[in-house]
Assembly symmetry: C2
Homo-oligomer: 354 residues x 2
């Protein structure tokens, strides 16, 4: 059994308080006594104050949680998420705070418990799916949090960092529309929960539950509405999961249809790269010329020559953590909108004449 602080106190013949002070408040006792205590502690093999006990008494933990509403391993697979984490990590480092990555079980009840049991002082919520229940739990616990997806019902004092998803998506779509494309497919991850991969008919974009996805699809639709292409004329394709293979599989059949799309607007670079994969997989003589756009501008996008919308990934993570760890006095400053930019590369071009 490891000795406790009490054991050290007994060994030196001082009170528990004094030993505690030797560790946490050196100015509260004479240097000589402090040395004596530290020596005794070394001799006894006292590992220093127990972090958990300390947290309990102090009322804070010294670590922030990062919540991915999906598999934890996903967080490391998605290049955008990784860069986001890097940003959070940089801020955490600056504040001497640890990051707790909490895996969420599939079952909602278990997932709620996971959030309830996380020993953290606050959460950065990186949203990849519907997260409302998670925010409920966090609020219930009375913990501060920063969200990265704009929600309609967000109260004014909720901290947020993100982009104008709709405007950003619109810029990409306007570029494609400007190139003359009118037969267009929109590709998104988990348009509706538990829906199979492939084309999907939806009365309107407002049916999409996930705010980020809804925002991007709205932006795409906006740009095409402007050139006279209505929502019903756009092909919406669902991908279950944000991965290249999933996107490739979901889109594959589309190009063999009577009037295939001449452009595919994807909700993320990962999906867009999957589309490029699907195209590359076809024999050269049967490979349609399709314009493809992504979203995020992950490192791989540049290498693949993908036209995409850039958003500052690390910055997003860094600011999310900063907002959490060092909340601005002004509530308005707690709502940060980051800039985006359309990055045009080789993956988009004019409609081929055929």
């Amino acid at each position: 059994m490891k000795p406790t602080l009490q054991a050290v106190a007994d060994a030196v013949g001082v009170s528990r308080s004094t030993v505690s002070n030797a560790y946490s408040r050196p100015d509260q006792l004479s240097a000589t006594l402090r040395e004596r205590i530290l020596d005794a502690a070394r001799q006894l093999g006292y590992p220093g104050p127990n972090p958990t006990a300390r947290s309990l008494r102090r009322g804070f933990v010294g670590s922030i949680g990062v919540l991915f509403t999906s598999q934890l391993s996903y967080a490391f697979t998605d290049p955008f998420a990784v860069r986001f984490l890097a940003g959070v990590g940089a801020a955490a480092e600056r504040h001497g705070t640890s990051m707790l990555l909490v895996p969420l079980p599939r079952a909602v009840t278990d997932a709620r418990q996971a959030v309830e049991n996380a020993a953290v002082d606050g959460f950065c919520v990186y949203c990849v799916a519907d997260e409302e229940w998670a925010l409920d739990v966090i609020r219930q616990r009375g913990l501060p949090f920063v969200s990265t997806a704009a929600r309609d019902d967000a109260s004014a004092d909720e901290r947020f960092v993100g982009i104008d998803e709709r405007a950003a998506a619109r810029s990409a779509a306007a570029h494609v529309a400007g190139l003359g494309h009118r037969r267009v497919a929109l590709l998104a991850d988990s348009v509706l929960p538990d829906t199979p991969a492939g084309p999907l008919t939806l009365a309107g974009v407002d049916q999409v539950p996930h705010p980020t996805t809804r925002g991007r699809l709205s932006g795409f639709a906006d740009a095409f509405a402007e050139v006279g292409v209505g929502w019903a004329e756009l092909t919406l394709v669902n991908v279950p999961g944000n991965s290249r293979p999933a996107a490739a599989a979901a889109i594959a059949g589309l190009f063999d249809q009577p009037a295939p799309p001449t452009a595919v607007l994807a909700g993320s670079d990962v999906l867009a790269l999957g589309v490029l994969d699907a195209l590359a997989a076809r024999p050269a003589h049967d490979r349609p010329t399709v314009s493809v756009t992504g979203f995020d501008d992950v490192p791989e996008a540049a290498a693949a020559g993908l036209t995409t919308v850039r958003q500052p990934a690390e910055e997003k993570g860094r600011i999310a953590a900063e907002l959490l760890l060092d909340p601005p006095a002004d509530a308005a400053a707690g709502h940060v909108l980051l800039p985006t930019a359309l990055v045009v590369r080789g993956s988009t071009g004019p409609v081929p004449r055929s």
Copy 2:
């Protein structure tokens, strides 16, 4: 002030124990009473048992620490580290355990404190630099840990997962030696601590403090010793930090020297890619033909056509976490050696005749 478990007990008129049981041991009380308690808790806004208090009493935390003996942001920059983390994450997920990423301040005293204060049940130590002090602290705390770098002084019961660095490196070097290269540069991250970038003279490879680096350099040296090229004839190049730009900067001057190396063996893919960057940065007419090898086989390596040594990254992370969370009864099983494979791609070729 959030209500405590006691408050709920009072509201319902039962003992604290019973409320506790309602949460943690539903089988210890009648279903009806349990419902009554949970209802009251909801009404009062009780956030559920305080995770810290619970951890203190239970004696464990439910999370494992991942220790990077370097900047935390590095962990997300190095593709190999990211894949390692993904593996740890997958295992953590399986066990319902969280991962705590602990940033380490530069100053050793502060860094020690960070490890002392981490609320975790054990550590996966991903080594990027000398870690001996960290292991000391962990041992002192009496926490279990798994290391990924083989150390000479490791006691038999210490858990470990890694590769035979020396043999793996040797395979790469043997390939290059077989192609006829004799003027060769070895590139490694932080050969000696706090040493400037660039060529470095070292009496022998045993002077390198970091076991992983030492292992790989030894392997390189082994292969060349076999074809009659001694340690002194090899050019050792130090890179401060495992990054492409750093590697490019460190190697840049080398090709303008009288008898430039015809091959560069790098201690990691990231460094090797940096070498390729440095070469690509030169004007075409002044670009020497240099064989380059890496180590790890990160995703980018394939795209760049880099010859490298593959080691299973996620597997390493997964097994590290498994060894920690589910220790094998047999001590020998706690020491896992993963397979490696030489992957020959376009970045290596015969010595050009000039």
